[in-house]
């Protein structure tokens, strides 16, 4: 098992966002968590990338190592878990190339860095055309590509993706998801995808969880979930 999360609880001050969530991800697997706005999807990802503190009793392990012992930057550089946050959050004052290079800050294998940048440009040719442009001035689709590319440069064991489809045209969305599939196949990168677009997410993934008000209420193979009457009614528009 690559990632195992048990009884995850997170609060923002008095607001309880997660009430004891448990899930797991195997190496190379694509897993999704679907749920309505405010269900706690983003919070789950933030907990895994150690961007929010978890309450006592929560346990997370990555390949048997206690995730809670790692500060956020080491979750990336030592465990290879990357987080593509909601809204992309690129460094808009840095160029495309600089965003990619910065993500290799902690890497020591400098020979591979060049190769990996070429790889990113091969997956997203658009980024190569824009490599000297300030990333803040690119379109939403290009920014999402760069956000994925940036994560790719910093680690590739597990990629946490927060609503990558948000604000993208159907065509660009296809583009991005095809690239993600390619990264998953060729690099063996596992993916934890969080989406409001449940149909898209279930088609893309192998396993799914349904999150409601901070509780996981359903889990199963994505093929099964997509045909589940409850899921259909609540998340797939009938």
């Amino acid at each position: 098992m690559l990632l195992n999360v048990e009884n995850l609880r997170v609060s923002y001050g008095k607001i309880k966002a997660l009430h004891g969530v448990s899930f797991n991800i195997d190496a190379g697997e694509i897993v999704t968590i679907i749920g309505a706005n405010g269900a706690g999807k983003s919070t789950t990802l933030r907990a895994v990338s150690r961007m929010v503190p978890v309450e006592s009793g929560s346990a997370m392990t990555c390949m048997g190592k206690d995730l809670l012992k790692f500060p956020p930057e080491k979750v990336v550089s030592e465990l290879g878990i990357t987080h593509v946050p909601e809204g992309r959050r690129l460094f808009g004052n840095l160029t495309v190339m600089e965003n990619l290079q910065l993500a290799t800050f902690a890497r020591k294998d400098l020979d591979n860095v060049k190769k990996d940048i070429r790889r990113v440009f091969q997956i997203f040719p658009r980024l190569e055309e824009r490599k000297s442009q300030a990333s803040g001035t690119m379109s939403g689709g290009e920014q999402q590509m760069l956000a994925v590319g940036r994560a790719f440069m910093s680690g590739r064991r597990l990629m946490l993706l927060d609503e990558p489809s948000m604000g993208l045209s159907p065509l660009l969305m296809m583009n991005v998801f095809q690239a993600l599939k390619e990264i998953n196949r060729q690099e063996g990168t596992a993916i934890l995808l969080v989406e409001q677009n449940a149909r898209l997410a279930l088609k893309f993934s192998q396993k799914g969880y349904v999150l409601e008000n901070g509780n996981l209420v359903l889990e199963g193979d994505s093929d099964t979930l997509i045909n589940d009457p409850q899921v259909k009614k609540a998340y797939l528009g009938g």
């Binding site: 961007m51 500060p71 956020p72 946050p85 959050r89 910065l102 902690a106 680690g155």
Partner: protein, 290 residues
């Protein structure tokens, strides 16, 4: 009004400006990257000057003076500057670690007050324990523009919350920022000590505030702007006195040169009225929470 008199003022203005510029650059650098005005910065200038004094005395006793000197004077000076910058950088790192890091999520006002308190502690600490060639600025710009450390600093200035998400240790970058800013202040402190060999524990206060004005005048967060504004401020301050004298002579007035600061800072105020974001400032901030 002789030529030498004007030249002398010009030289003083340049020198005075270089103090402000170096201190203001440190202010501005820390601000641009951490969105924080380190109000203890003026006192780090003072600490730098004292460390410089200590280091130069130490080096002189080690390597001798005058005929007995083993090393030429300029080598000693360069060594003094380098060692003092290094030591003062550590003071900066400690200030960040102890004073600011615990408050990174706290309201900005708390951090500002902490800065003032650290400043007072450095002043009184000084009293307790002691009883009472310009730095190459383009290199700093190169450093920030082209190295991975500089890139990380710029990223931090844009959206510090996300910095750890790409595997960059935020605390290390913050400490580095303070170290460089403090090293700049130390360089200013030594240059000051060379020209005005009387150091006192409160020397950082007025310099600190004036450099703060220069940092604002340059445009918050613009290191280049802070440097230029520092020189400008030095120039305005120093040149106000001969200007008053000329005016007095031409128009038979009797304006006292003790009005220097009043006139100089009125000029600054007028500039800020027309350029509220400073000379090179940007009006935007991109701070968001993740």
């Amino acid at each position: 009004m002789t030529f030498t008199f004007l030249m002398q003022n010009l030289i003083n203005a340049l020198q005075w400006g270089s103090f402000y510029a170096l201190i203001a650059m440190g202010y501005s650098m820390v601000y641009s990257i951490l969105m924080l005005f380190n109000f203890a910065h003026g006192d780090i200038f003072m600490v730098g000057a004292y460390i410089g004094l200590g280091v130069s005395l130490g080096l002189l006793s080690l390597f001798g003076t005058g005929a007995a000197a083993i090393l030429p004077g300029w080598v000693l000076l360069v060594l003094t500057i380098l060692i003092s910058m290094f030591l003062t950088a550590f003071v900066g790192i400690i200030v960040e670690r102890v004073g600011y890091r615990p408050l990174r999520e706290a309201p900005r006002a708390s951090a500002a007050i902490t800065g003032l308190m650290i400043g007072i502690m450095l002043e009184t600490g000084n009293i307790l324990f002691l009883g009472g060639q310009r730095f190459k600025f383009p290199q700093l710009h190169q450093f920030i523009a082209h190295t991975k450390w500089g890139m990380a600093m710029r990223a931090m200035a844009y959206d510090y919350v996300v910095v750890p998400l790409v595997g960059v240790p935020m605390n290390t970058i913050a400490a580095m920022t303070f170290a460089i800013g403090s090293a700049l202040a130390a360089a200013a402190g030594i240059l000051f000590g060379l020209a005005y060999p009387v150091l006192d524990p409160y020397m950082g206060v007025s310099f600190g505030w004036k450099a703060f004005v220069a940092a604002i005048l340059g445009g918050r967060g613009s290191i280049m702007g802070a440097c230029l504004a520092g020189f400008m401020l030095g120039f305005i301050e120093i040149m106000t006195v001969p200007a008053i004298q000329i005016m007095n002579r031409l128009f038979s007035l009797n304006i006292g040169s003790n009005l220097r600061d009043l006139i100089a800072y009125s000029i600054v105020l007028v500039i800020l009225v027309f350029r509220p974001h400073g000379l090179f400032g940007q009006a935007y901030s991109s701070k968001l929470r993740l």
